[in-house]
């Protein structure tokens, strides 16, 4: 009896392994085919590209090297562009966070908002999150002209949806006892949110806010490429003109600022939510 069962189990296990193995082989085949297809659709080939891969980076570095001490004077030159990019990200994150707070309060099940509006607000946030910011930015650049404002609006739109979802998850995890206490004192909905909800969620909100700011710095830099100003615009100009040392300076500045914001934000987030809750 036991032997039969064992045999059955072994057979089952064997089949399962066979299927797993087959799906792994299939996956590898699909990926390989995908790469072949991608390589065929590409204008340059994979192997020639591999040989040329270091050409461009080394060319940039060489040009930067040739500049000598002059190279470092490019940094102050591009500083305003960098500040502009960071401003776009900061304004967009602030405005986005304000909208996200409102949207998240309207879409949390435990805050006594009318049940009918919760799914509606959630779908609105889904749409805001899924809508590619590039499209909004391009449309607004057409209407408003090339300036940082279209980028800020586009990023803020996306941020509202993305942060709103995270915020509403935070809202749903709070302790409702303070809310009941406040209700007992006769406070209205706004007062309950102000004194019962906000103090509880603020640390997590701040953490997500900083994380989003970091993401938005990258997004703003990219939108600069389509004419939204800031470091992206400078980078696309420098690449277009083949000004290698300027490209190197801009790459380096972008890299350093992203690293700096990364470090600062993770330090602050640790501070807000406490190292033990940090993940």
């Amino acid at each position: 009896m036991v032997d039969v069962m064992r045999q059955d189990l072994l057979a089952l296990e064997g089949r399962r392994r066979l299927y797993t193995g087959l799906s792994v082989v299939l996956l590898i085949a699909v990926v390989a085919a995908g790469y072949r297809e991608a390589s065929a659709l590409n204008s340059g080939g994979f192997l020639q590209g591999l040989l040329k891969f270091f050409d461009y980076p080394s060319q940039i570095v060489m040009q930067a090297w040739d500049q000598g001490w002059e190279f470092w004077s490019l940094f102050p030159k591009f500083l305003p562009a960098l500040i502009e990019t960071i401003n776009i990200a900061a304004v967009a994150t602030i405005i986005g966070a304000v909208f996200a707070t409102v949207l998240s309060l309207a879409s949390s099940r435990n805050l006594e908002v009318p049940a009918a509006i919760i799914p509606v607000v959630r779908r609105i946030m889904d749409i805001m999150r899924a809508f590619p910011e590039l499209i909004i930015a391009l449309f607004l650049i057409f209407v408003l002209g090339a300036s940082p404002v279209p980028a800020a609006i586009a990023v803020a739109f996306h941020t509202s949806g993305a942060l709103g979802k995270l915020f509403s998850e935070v809202n749903e995890n709070i302790d409702v006892k303070p809310l009941e206490g406040l209700k007992a004192t006769g406070s209205n909905w706004l007062q309950r949110v102000r004194f019962g909800v906000i103090p509880q969620v603020l640390p997590n909100y701040s953490s997500y806010f900083l994380l989003r700011f970091e993401i938005n710095v990258r997004a703003s830099a990219i939108l600069g490429f389509v004419g939204a100003g800031g470091i992206g615009t400078e980078l696309s100009r420098a690449i277009g003109w083949g000004a290698g040392s300027e490209v190197a300076a801009l790459f380096l500045m972008l890299f350093l600022s992203i690293v700096a914001i990364d470090q600062l934000s993770s330090y602050l987030r640790r501070h807000f939510v406490g190292a033990e809750n940090f993940s």
């Binding site: 340059g44 209407v143 940082p148 404002v149």
Partner: protein, 446 residues
Amino acid sequence: MVAATEQSTALMAETVRVSVRKASTVPMLLLVGVALYLIYAWNAFDITALLERAQLSKGALLISDSVAYKTHVTKNLRRGDFEVAIEGERHATYKDLPDWVRGDADKFSVDLGDGYVVRVEDKSLAFEVPGYGTIRSELVGKKIVTELPEGPVPDWLKARDVKLDARPTFSRRVQMSRAKIEIHKFDYGWENFWFPFTSVLHGKSFGELLEIAGSPERLDADMPNWRFILSSFWGNPEWQHGIVAVALFETILMAVLGTVTAAACGLPLAFVAASNFNPNGTLRFVVRRIFDFVRGIDMLIWSLIFIRAFGLGPLTGSLAIAFTDTGSLGKLFSEALENIDRKQVEGVESTGANRWQRYRFGVIPQILPVFTSQFLYYVESNTRSATVIGALGAGGIGLVLVETMRTQRDWENTFYIIGLIIVMVFIMDSSSSWLRRKLIAGGEKR
């Protein structure tokens, strides 16, 4: 006694007041700081000037142009000939006049619907506008002489010596200059969406198409009719359905290939970077810094470097995504590995399992939910990223979008591509969250 209670109540109230004030000071300062920053940003972005320059009419034009197209009826006053063409384009000129134009070059009438009729005779026109009267214009020598009905001139009408421009409704416009008379009729919809204007299939209904597809009589000697219909649609030169479909495929290919590669490279490296699997601190440090480096350099910069090396196309995009996300996924996986439960590994070990079996049966099942959910989440978000880096020049639908926007001629094409991108993002989004719910036990709809 009573006085003492009152006193202590007052003291308590005072304490509460002070603590509330203390507690509100920091948020208030923060709010003031944010407000000051926004004022600074308002000036830095020069929003006041921007609002003055903003051309909201351009936006309205764009939206209306996206859903409507116009047909021009043009009479050349110098040569005396006339033609009817969609958007006034040479390749979309009607050979047989549509039924709302009647007559010949010397004398014809255009019925714009709802009683709006334009009659053109030699070098004069009469435009009947219901509720206003008839506008009569004639080219006399080098001057346009216009005769208007009694009463004040409405603001949709401009009549000068050199030009007449009347647009009583959004969808009807008549213009006259010394060189030509031009009548615009606007229709909702996307013209020539299915088949090119010159194709014999243009304007056929779905039933007629089915009939053509079934009929043995070949329209094109080289192929059966159903294939002819498909290839006419696929190769439509204006809407480029074939090219757009390939571009969409490229974008999804970029996202999926890039993420699969990143996950495949990230997982083994994550074991090296996790402190409970790799006792070698130096190696751990090196791998972690590699993760930070590829992640920190940013997809933007990677894609620019890859474009130089590999040219435009999905391979470039895939590699850029793969590089960046090896860093992100590797970091996430190594954190998941550090958080696993030792006991299951020990259990597997106690059965005499070797190192690989321990990983396979003790570790992988534990991190699989994290792995799957992060993988799917990244596929989804990379679909959006692939559109964006495509627009920078990596290819795919992003590049097609930017190119159609740059020409700024056919906004309906742009609108169509935007629609397709949004549909694509939504499909990727919802299928990934559906899969996440299905694959991860206990996963609930969020």
